[in-house]
Amino acid sequence: MLDSFLNSFPILFGSGNFFTILFAVALGLLIGLFVGALPGLTTLMAMAIVLPISFFMDPLVGIPFLIGVYKGGIFGGSIPAILVSLPGTGASVATTFDGPPLTKQGKGRKALETALFSSVIADFSSDIVTILLIGPIALVALLIGPPELAAILFLSILIISSTSNGSVGKNMIMLAVGLLIALIGQDPIAALTRFTFDVFELRAGIPLLPMLIGLFAIPEILINIESKAKQFVQAKLNLKKEEQLTWKEFLGLRKTIFRSTIIGTTIGMIPGVGQVVAAFVGYAAAKNASPNPEKFGKGELEGIAAPEAANNAVNGPTLVPLLTLGIPGDNVTAILLGAFVAHGLRPGPQLMTEQGSIVFAILLCMLLANVLFLILGYFTMPLFSKVVSIKKSYLLPLTIVFAFAGSFVFRHNPADLYFLLFFGIFGYILRKLEFDVTPLVMAFILAPSLEYAFGQTLSLGDDGLLKYLLLERPIAALIICATPIITWKLWKRSKRLRDVATEVTSNQVK
């Protein structure tokens, strides 16, 4: 393996193709960024659309091109999330907590730059880890099966719910409601309809993106509209000079970025968990570790660095099962698989032994993509942040049109607009009643996978579940035992915070 790695350098740099590759990657990054910034257009769709173009390129050019689209897309979703509270993808939902408040304070550009630097650093680090530890990571992927996944997902839901704001009861109600919404449609295993009330449109379940846009973007818009034009004049005065991220602020973030990188890389190694969970867990962990957790959600830079770093750190390890075992873990890797195959390369154990240097060359391109992205991003961020400096009276209707277009394009289903509207109103009411929507969203996203993994576990352990877990799946058993301990500790801490908050509020009342 070492000589494959060493051979990759001449392949990449010496072939004379190098600048073409750089150009292709840069182009991919820009396309991905653009598409990611448009809500409803998933990176997946963008990759599927440009896939045929990559067919006609050299594999060392075409595949990095697609990877560029992928990386650009992950970050792209954060742009509308920060600027107008419109999550472009599921992974950028956690960025809508602290992004919009910062934008309102005139620090939009600072927020974007924080997101950019956190994402790039985390991505770069996880790519290096991937290259160095590609063998062990593949091993981990094989060890994680349905029982482990079920245990991890369950633990994640508990971690994220127990670090949410507000009262326990309300958070758990949100969790239950999220599960309830996830139920509507077909059950993950046997596709039996649940709670569709004979409405065919509900069979495919509640669509994710319209729901997210409804829960996060629409309430923000409605809250802004509450006060009409009078307030807006004042707001415009704040945006005279765009604040940039200072070196000092950046250094202050390094612990958060480091923590999130580890979280994201670990989650990336576990097939089936994904960027959304990484972002939320990163956010929860940062909030938990911070001395001032109450600042989160009000415009705290750490609140942007944490999810952004985590969700980008997932990228590197996610490719490992594809490259080493030939197994695509999710739709994105499936498209990459298609790209590989169309170029005559069959990823899997055969490829690693026969043409390992090409694989490593592609991984090196990933590293390069990060550096390129830093440069490209740095110059394009100011352009994006200028967008929100137009008058609110124009910005809000335009955002609404954007949100609706994005929701429609997600599934090409006219009914999705009504879902959008419903969740918009629902989200507004929840906001007004001070519910934290995070547990709802987490439950909605993770419940199907959790139920599926649990069902698979029951099927595998058909012959006696307890015996199966203890004898054949020690890792899962370990995680299950650790779960109550971790949850207890987190719950105690958040109870302490709640008591403090109650103290403070009751003092104010007096």
Binding site: V177, A190, R194, F195, I221, V401, G424, A447
Partner: protein, 170 residues
Amino acid sequence: MKKNFLTPNMITGFLSVLIGIFVIIKIPSEIEKPVLIFGQSSSEIDPELVPLIVAIMLIIFGSYTMIKDRNSLISNSWPNLTRSMLKNVGFTVLCLAVYSLLFNSLGFVLASVLLIFILSQYMGDVSHYISISLAILFPLIVFGVFVNIMHVFLPAFPLYEVRIGNYLIM
């Protein structure tokens, strides 16, 4: 300190319990029965399991909120809604509802033109010229990019296909 009976938490807790009960009632009728394959159920988990768990959670935590958090001091205040706020939000929601309908029946471009123009005028402090220009340009650009470049679909004007060359513009 006054102890109220009807606090927001009380009401949301109560609603939660109601929904939980509703779910339990509806479980038998709304969940398809698994088909038997080779004598064993095709679904390892009974599809009714998770709905049952959800309903129980809703009832338990709804009751918890009603009883324990009824007079909690944090996140338990009535929202601060003035008449003008309700008017603005109500009008906007109405616009959005009509927009959703027109989006599908008149096409993306026309519906968006109307929405942008009406809302920006309503919100005030706008120049009529910019309102109209943005209202017309923005939807056209979005439509053009989404349909012709990204090859995804937005509802087009149903009565006539407005094309320039082979490009659909409306």
